[in-house]
């Protein structure tokens, strides 16, 4: 049981969470939906005890574990060692073999498929890292498990597996909280749905609500989620590389970027490869500039913030304190404003909400229209079909032939699974 009453949290002048009260009971699956920056993560960090609220009370029975959208893993250590870290704080004697056996048992008990416990985390794909985070959290036997955008790096099959794990945990009386903005998933898994916007709970309902109602509650400016135009071949082309995370996409992107250092790059791991969290928005925007003058950069950033509708207090806000979607906008603005002739975008909408996703797609589309060559590396089928002029599937480092999106629709599933 987890009970929050009148919780409020400020970051500077921004009110991230505004007088929120909610109860999460043992054994139920609750979804918290909302746009990036709606306060979902902040609220749940407070619930997990990671952040102190400015006002309000928190009552909690047992442990709450929050699985972050960004990974908290030691890249230099192996899977087994990372799991051991999570489970044993104290001093003890052990051997590599023992750690690995324990890790394998832990993984088996969690019901999640992850092999090769002696691999270093730095070598794992993003999908595998997210699995490892989940295993770590489950191994600590929390009474409340909070998952922050867990499906953003998973394939549809992996998402199904995750849902199975969530249902099993709930049946064992764990409260499961699922933070997401993917409405079909929210509707598929949750027993109760809480929608946040601007730091407040704007809707609380049972799972029999319609996707439209949820979308309207999430997005103040009523948009049309899911209604994406299929790409038409024009001057510039968007080529989608579809594949399950960890099939050589990173190597593909790295090779291409090494060959073309002037290409724009929207990295898969934006907090690691895209943003310098400790520097301001203005400074992040200027990283690729040939010449930097603080005053000009600030004015330029002010204009960019307005044009990209980045939710920030101003050009001097630290990029690390922005929500994921707004960080992505900063990266996008930096990479696209120099009108690059080649753009490599890796999972450009990972973890973003409907509006931010639409924005990213529009930007890529208009860059293509202006003649840019775009390589879109994605594991999101909807994204590929919404944007691509041509599709290739990557499986174990090998690319399939080029297909038109129509052709791809029928063949993509078997190609991605490597059975074609």
């Amino acid at each position: 049981m987890l009970h929050l009453a009148h919780v409020t949290k400020h970051f500077g002048t921004t009110r991230a969470v505004d007088d929120v009260s909610l109860t999460i009971r043992a054994g139920e699956i609750v979804a918290i939906a909302g746009e990036n920056g709606a306060g979902k993560t902040t609220l749940m960090r407070i619930a997990a005890g990671e952040l102190a609220a400015d006002a309000g009370t928190l009552q909690r029975e047992g442990r709450a574990e929050l699985v972050h959208q960004h990974f908290l893993l030691v890249n230099e250590l192996t899977i087994a060692e990372n799991i051991a870290f999570a489970r044993h704080a104290g001093f003890r004697f052990t051997t590599r073999r023992m750690l690995e056996r324990e890790a394998e048992e832990t993984i088996a008990a969690s019901g999640i498929d992850l092999r090769g416990v002696s691999r270093r985390v730095g070598e794992l794909s993003v999908g595998e890292r997210s699995k490892l985070e989940l295993i770590k959290a489950i191994s600590r036997k929390p009474s409340t498990l909070i998952l922050d955008e867990p499906t953003s790096v998973l394939t549809p099959t992996e998402t199904e597996d995750l849902f199975r794990v969530m249902r099993r945990l709930a049946s064992e009386n764990t409260a499961v909280v699922f933070i997401s903005h993917k409405l079909p998933e929210v509707l598929a898994i949750a027993e109760r749905i809480i929608v946040m916007r601007g730091g407040r709970v704007v809707l609380e309902s049972a799972a029999n609500v319609s996707a439209e109602t949820l979308a309207n509650a999430m997005v103040a400016s009523a948009g049309q989620p899911g209604n994406r135009e299929t790409g038409q071949p024009r001057n510039g082309e968007i080529l989608a590389i579809l594949g399950v995370t960890g099939n050589g996409q990173r190597e593909l992107a790295t090779n291409l970027l090494d060959e073309q250092p002037t290409a724009a790059h929207i990295p898969e791991d934006r907090t690691r490869d895209g943003i310098v969290a400790q520097m301001t928005i203005a400074e992040n925007l200027a990283l690729k500039a040939n010449r930097w003058r603080p005053c000009e950069a600030a004015q330029h950033a002010q204009r960019t913030i307005a044009r990209y509708s980045i939710r920030a207090s101003g050009p001097q806000q630290l990029a690390g304190s922005l929500s994921g979607g707004n960080q992505q906008k900063v990266i996008l603005a930096r990479e696209l404003e120099r009108r690059p002739d080649t753009i490599v975008a890796s999972e450009p909408t990972r973890g973003l909400d409907i509006e931010a996703t639409r924005f990213v797609h529009e930007q890529l589309r208009s860059a293509a229209n202006a003649g840019a060559k775009i390589l879109l590396i994605t594991s999101d089928l909807d994204e590929a079909f919404a944007l691509a002029d041509a599709v290739q599937v990557i499986y174990r480092g090998k690319l399939s032939e080029r297909m038109t999106p129509e052709e791809a629709r029928t063949r993509v599933a078997s190609l991605m699974a490597g059975v074609a």
């Binding site: 990295p267 943003i275 310098v276 400074e283 990283l287 690729k288 930097w292």
Partner: protein, 320 residues
Amino acid sequence: MTRALVAVLAAASAVILLALAGLLFGHSPIELLAILASGSIGSRFALEGTLLKSVPLLLTGLSVVIAFRAGVWNIGGEGQFLVGALAALLAARFGVLASLLAAMLAGAAWASIATAMRLWRNAPEVLTTILLNFTAIHLLGWCVNGPLRERAAQYPQTDLAAVALPAIGSIHAGVVLAIAMSVAAWWILYRTTEGLRLRATGFNPFAARWAGIRVNAQLARAMAMSGAVAGLAGGIELLGVTHRLFERFASGYGYSGIAVALLAQLHPLATIASAAFFGALVTGAGELQRTANISSAVATFGQAVVILVLIGFERVRASR
């Protein structure tokens, strides 16, 4: 603002703990504080002493700030300081400017040895710079006992340097130079493209690389700048204070620079205040030794307390 507060608290706790430690020696804390204050800022003479000690601390502190901002652990300030002084002595006969320039070049070159080892064999700077300190100490020892030994051949020390820094009153001009250097460091770090890229590299080398910054070249330049400033500190100390070299010439200025930089929260302008504080601490500790017979090593104790308190605050802040 809170960072400044943390620094002030750390400095204050160091002084208070120092005074309390006096109880162990049978002195009242109040009395010790009074001696510390009068010995460091209580008179014109004391103030001058503080100022003189602050100059090398300010420069070695800046050296650490520049390297740390780029994400490099240059703890080789001591060695860079020594080779700087050595080069300054050798170049002294070409004039003050040439001498100081030589000091900077030598410091930069010495630091760049560590960079080269990083680039060729991926050797961590934490190890290589500290090992280069010992190398420099022995190089100096050999010089003052061998080729550079004074003509009288009486002590293991060199003859007086051919030139000296001009004086402003009873203080050498190095004070002005050191303050100018910290303004210059601030300007480079926060007002130039070079500084932007240097800081980005320090905070997140991955993002820096993807943003097109040549990370290795950036690190090499940062390390060279850092070494140059530490070398300059050695040159100024030689031409302004000691005028000759001897074995214990550096006496820990390079290492103290780390404490100075951390107390300044790695900000080049705050380093001025931080260096003045430690300069006062060292000078005041000298007075403690003379009047209260407490070893002046308590100044080192003060530095340690400052660092520990800073680390403590950092943990508190991280967990909030």
